[in-house]
Amino acid sequence: MKAIDIAIKDLTRSFRSAFAIIFMFGVPLLVTGMFYFMFGNTAENGGFDLPKTKVIIANMDEGGPRFQVNPKNIPGGREADTMGDLIVSILESDEMADLIEVSFARDPETARASVDIQQAQVALIIPPDFSEQFADMEEGKAVIEFYQDPTLTIGPAVMRSILNRFMNGMSGVKIAVNVFIDEADTSDYAMTGLVVQQYLDDSLALSEDMEGELLDIRVPVSEQKNEAEQSENLLLTIIGPIMGGMMVFYAYYTGASTAQSILTEEEEHTLPRLFTTPTSQATILTGKLLSVFLTVGMQVIVLLIASRLIFGIQWGNFTSVILAAAGIILSASSFGVFINSFFASTKQSGVLFGGILTVTGMMGMIKIFAMNSAIANKMGDTVSMLVPQGWAIRGLMQSMNGEPFNSVLITALATLAWSAAFFVIGVLRFNRRYV
């Protein structure tokens, strides 16, 4: 009971400070709000710039039956002599220019090496018999090798979408030719090329508005019914992670500054006075720790709800969000206790807090702000896992992305392991100090 009294007293003190309220709730929402308005404008105008995906092509296709495609359907494109050339023409067309940046390799090894050293994000290797296989109506199997950087998602997804669409069209051509050969007289076989040409032109003409359809960016809401909603969903995919990152970043600050009240009370002489009352040291420390957990908990819950109401961010299903939030609360609180246990005074902690929390916070959030850079993304994936903030953010992102409950649970358990280690070390150090 006394522990709860101590926690309530600390909560009263914390929430009586206007500065603390602004710092805990106002700043994270404000920062996210700034991003919201910044990106909101571009998303509403449809002007959001997705970085170009660097594609390197090794076109080894030696040709086969000759197809001619009408260049008017490939703006900026050129006539194609082989199926490989046709793919290259489409990828080099004006419509694709905003999405992809094409370069060429002389052989498959060079193309793959470019991806390995991150000069390109995707390598397309078109084999020598691609046209030949395509032309074989009976047993032909035309396959393009798709080689991608495994740490990237959006760029390769765009490329896959383009290629799938093309290959679906080509499959349609094969079916159309087969049907034509089956149904037509032998005297009509001369018209096969015309049929193929007509199918190809129609198929490519349907792709004029390809860019809008290629982006399969998943958003929290299950349905995208209209353009306005699409724009809103795109915005949320940007704002959601930023809000999550801000929440974790500031929750860690709150954890540290609330745990700092142990040092503050020592300097205000109220902690020694507490020790003169018939209240055990364990109860006093429990009360102090409880106040840290409750303060951070309140902050995270308020931010989750407020960001849902203000920005419409959907954090995922209830159990996943609970798990992710628990991970944030526990790790932020225990981290606060942990680092405070190393400081002798608030003067000392005041100087070092900012540095430690900013550096570890930025390390944890690096993935959020580097999601469009291949190198930073890959590095961020590793670096963020070195700090507890990275795990806390990871759990929240998994929940937002609708990943399976087990994935969120594993991350939550990892965060819990961090928390347990911090908590035990912090409490032991504080116990040793006051016994």
């Binding site: 009294d5 007293k9 003190r13 400070s17 205000e268 006075r273 003169t276 018939p278």
Partner: protein, 314 residues
């Protein structure tokens, strides 16, 4: 039970590294009396009180507070004890009522009893009308009163007051001294530390004088003054002295101690009628001029000077 000492201190030792803060301190405090620990800063008073509050663990020795050992029954000690620390130990962002309510809970008070005691204490410390203001907005004296009020909430049998008048205005000081006497009148035992001789002299039934971690004398005011014998203290101020006058005074027959203190020289003498002219003569011989003289009856200052060779406020 009534004859049992409220506080029995048995040969306490406490050191911090090389520093021997308390060395073999022993004394008894009877129930219902005011007992003062008098000594200059760094004498070991606060360390002694910290050990008696179970804040510090003694290296050696033990003490019993209302029969509870500070070594084996800390919770028992704390439950009969109210502590007024030297510093203001309050939450400045809470109101006086919230502070008292919180500390009352820490002493185990709940519900109506807590509410009643908070009201009573607010009345005793004279802050009932400003109880809902944040302590941070109070004057130093008002904070001191709340600081004392906290220790009274659970009606303790013993109260420790560690230099409660440091740094406050004369009016608040008077109020605190009156409240200490009132506590005694209510039957509480008060252990009071101070470096103000006048406070110890005014309040105490018994006084222990501490210096450099040791207790150098203990008794009633009269018993302590007797230690000085028939000696008289003369306080003088000198003009244009180069230090030789004071040295010369030390050599005068009948002078037992000489100590300089904030521009005043305290001289302990056997017979002021005989020695005083010699003091003037020596000053003249060294081209110094005595600008003021005060002959004082023997008091605790003189006792301290007699026992240590230093003035109490050195």
């Amino acid at each position: 039970m009534s004859n049992m000492a409220a506080i029995e201190v048995l040969n306490l030792y406490k050191s911090f590294g090389e520093n021997q803060a308390v060395q073999g301190v022993s004394f008894d405090v009877s129930q219902g009396e005011i007992f003062s620990l008098l000594g200059p800063n760094g004498a070991g008073k606060t360390t002694t009180i910290s050990m008696l509050s179970c804040l510090l663990r003694p290296n050696e020795g033990d003490a019993r507070v209302m029969g509870h050992s500070i070594r084996t029954d800390a919770m028992g000690v704390k439950s009969v004890l109210g502590v007024v620390p030297q510093e203001i130990a309050l939450y400045e962002d809470l109101t006086a009522r919230e502070n008292l309510s919180f500390w009352g809970k820490m002493y185990g008070l709940r519900g109506l009893e807590l509410k009643k005691r908070v009201g009573e204490v607010l009345e005793v410390i004279g802050l009932l009308d400003r109880a809902n203001e944040r302590v941070g907005k109070y004057s130093g004296g008002m904070k001191r009163r709340v600081n004392i009020g906290v220790s009274l909430l659970h009606k303790p049998k013993v109260i420790y007051m560690d230099e409660p008048t440091v740094g406050i205005d004369p009016q608040s000081r008077r109020s605190i001294l009156d409240s200490v006497v009132a506590l005694k009148d209510q039957g509480m035992t008060v252990l009071y530390t101070t470096h103000y001789m006048e406070e110890a002299q005014e309040l105490s039934n018994h006084i222990a004088i501490m210096d450099h971690g040791k207790m150098i004398a203990c008794g009633t005011h009269d018993e302590l003054v007797k230690l000085v014998g028939g000696q008289t203290r003369i306080d003088l101020t000198l003009h244009m002295d180069d230090g030789k006058t004071i040295d010369a005074w030390r050599d005068i027959e009948g002078v037992t101690h000489v100590a300089a203190e904030n521009g005043t020289i305290a001289v302990l003498v056997n017979d002021s009628n005989i020695v005083l002219p010699k003091l003037f003569e020596a000053a003249t011989n060294h081209s110094a001029r005595i600008t003021s003289v005060a002959i004082r009856e023997p008091n605790l200052e003189a006792v301290f000077l007699h026992l240590t060779g230093r003035a109490l406020r050195d």
